[in-house]
């Protein structure tokens, strides 16, 4: 395969996005779109530069740590829960409906209630983030463990296994590719969770900054924060991919030549 071709193919999504920016700028100027409807890229860039970098980074860190901590808590709860549900059909039958109920309740709608319940500190933000990331993680871990070939389970039984070993040596590794799919979904949801929590009650974070800017009618600044959020979200998604490639290379889907 030709190298330049590969490079071009890889750069294509980025180039597409980049080529939209001049179009956007031109459209804003030609049609004289008011900034509160759609600010031009140059206005957004200007607004971005007007805010000190340390302030941006402060907000970024505030959002990022809630998203990552909430995601970690969610992961730490969902994997043991998935193990329990795989081990026990009874638990699976009783817990699963409960999980579906949690999942189908709009978290955005119960966020204010959670603030009332837990106050305004870290606890409500982490709760909201964990709740929103929870479902894809449990479902992917459970599906992955149940997708273990029955022959492998028989082999482990024929070696007189203990159930813990069966989970640890066979089922959990088998769940890894599934779990990573779930994590890719969940990690972007974690950002949404953190932003929702900031909308409801916070004095820092990119979500808070979007709301703050909007209420002062600084629309380009809100757009700049929004852009920052999507970049963070993308970076986290990419981060999960990189982790998988580094530590679980075997679990990547096979590339077709």
């Amino acid at each position: 395969m030709q190298k330049p071709e590969v490079l071009l193919r890889r750069a294509l999504p980025g180039l597409t996005l980049l080529s939209l920016i001049p179009l956007w700028e031109i459209a804003c100027r030609v049609f004289e779109i008011p900034a509160f409807v759609l600010p031009s890229p140059s206005a957004i860039a200007g607004a971005f530069a007007d805010v000190e970098m340390s302030r941006w980074l402060g907000h970024l860190w505030a959002t990022l740590r809630v998203a990552l901590a909430g995601f970690a808590i969610s992961l730490a709860i969902s994997i043991p829960l998935a193990v329990l549900m795989v081990r026990s059909p009874f638990l699976s039958r009783t817990l699963y409906p409960l999980l579906v109920v949690i999942q189908s309740t709009p978290i955005v709608a119960i966020a204010p209630l959670i603030i009332v319940m837990f106050g305004t500190g870290w606890a409500p933000r982490l709760t909201i983030t964990s709740l929103i990331t929870f479902f894809p993680l449990v479902v992917s871990a459970t599906t992955g463990m149940l997708a273990t070939p029955p022959e492998l389970i028989e082999l482990s039984r024929s070696l007189r296994n203990s159930p813990t070993r069966e989970i640890w040596y066979v089922r959990l590794p088998y769940a890894v590719p599934h779990l990573f799919s779930g994590m890719k979904v969940a990690v972007t949801l974690a950002i949404i969770g953190a932003v929702v929590a900031e909308f409801v009650a916070a004095e820092e974070g990119l979500g808070y900054f979007v709301q703050f800017s909007t209420s002062y009618f600084k629309i380009p600044q809100a757009f700049a924060a929004l852009l920052f959020l999507s970049i963070v979200s993308l970076a986290l998604f990419k981060g999960v991919q990189v982790l998988q490639a580094l530590f679980f290379r075997w679990s990547l889907p096979k590339e077709k030549n």
Partner: protein
């Protein structure tokens, strides 16, 4: 000489959610001597795999007794190695680690002896140069060789093989058959080999147990008196084709009777449908 493995009046039925239990095998009686290669031949879905799982101790028969050296098989057996239809290797472990899996699984750390044993088994199945490869880098036949090496790691007395070559293409399949015979000569085991290939059964086995359709009963035992070592030449011998004819007749006879209308198995057919 005491037989190594014995099935006495073994029947097995699976419970079904709606309706009566599904009978898989009925009143099986046979025995296998130590070091003997026995093939079990029968139509698809006739309960051959049940037989294998009973001997492996993965579950117990509804009635009757499965025994090894006159000791009832209760629970999974230490002295049996299993090769499955699909290689079922661990995709996250390399070839050597896959062969060592039973040791890792049982006791955690393989000794240097274990590793040497795994390496010599890999060399024996022709994969000496592939220790560090990952399973998805191997062809289906090579993966199944790893599966065979893994089954032999704990040096079991009994080797159970469940249609191990049925997922392979015809050429690889024939090659694997001869390789298995060579391995069996080097490491003599009592082998129970499940297959639905008539030629494979006749080529490999000392004795072929022909099973009926579900519920499986023993139609006949055919002793294959072909000289060993058997080679590609064996296939062209008159005696070999006589055996395959005989086996084919045994397999198809009951079905022909069904078509003709006077079937002993007719009811079973309806029950299945």
């Amino acid at each position: 000489m005491k037989p190594h493995v014995r099935f006495d009046n073994v029947s097995h039925a699976y419970p079904s959610e709606n309706g009566p239990p599904v009978e898989a095998i009925r009143n099986l009686n046979f025995s296998i001597d130590k070091g003997e290669f026995v093939a079990v031949l029968g139509p698809s879905g006739c309960g051959k795999s049940t037989l294998l799982r009973l001997l492996a101790g993965l579950f117990e028969p509804t009635s009757g007794l499965v025994s090894v050296y006159d000791k009832a098989v209760v629970g999974p057996q230490e002295n049996t190695g299993i090769v499955f239809q699909k290689p079922t290797l661990l995709p996250w472990k390399n070839v050597l680690e896959n062969v060592l899996f039973p040791i890792r699984y049982k006791s955690g750390r393989p000794s240097s002896d274990d590793i040497a044993q795994a390496k010599s088994l890999l060399a024996m199945v022709g994969l000496g140069d592939f220790e560090r490869h990952m399973p998805d880098q191997l062809s289906g036949g090579m993966q199944q060789r790893v599966g065979i090496a893994r089954a032999l790691l704990l040096d079991p007395e009994i080797l159970i093989m469940d249609e191990p070559f049925s997922a392979l293409d015809a050429l690889t399949r024939e090659e694997m058959g001869f390789d298995l015979l060579r391995i069996w000569r080097q490491r003599p085991k009592t082998v129970l080999f499940i297959t639905h290939s008539i030629a494979e059964a006749a080529l490999l086995a000392d004795r072929v147990l022909v099973l009926s359709e579900r519920p499986a009963t023993l139609l006949e035992e055919v002793r294959i008196d072909l000289p060993r070592p058997r080679t590609a030449e064996t296939i062209h011998e008159r005696a070999f084709s006589d055996y395959t004819h005989r086996l084919r007749e045994l397999i198809y006879q009951p079905r022909l009777k069904v078509v003709a209308g006077g079937a002993p198995n007719k009811e079973a057919h309806h029950a299945k449908a």
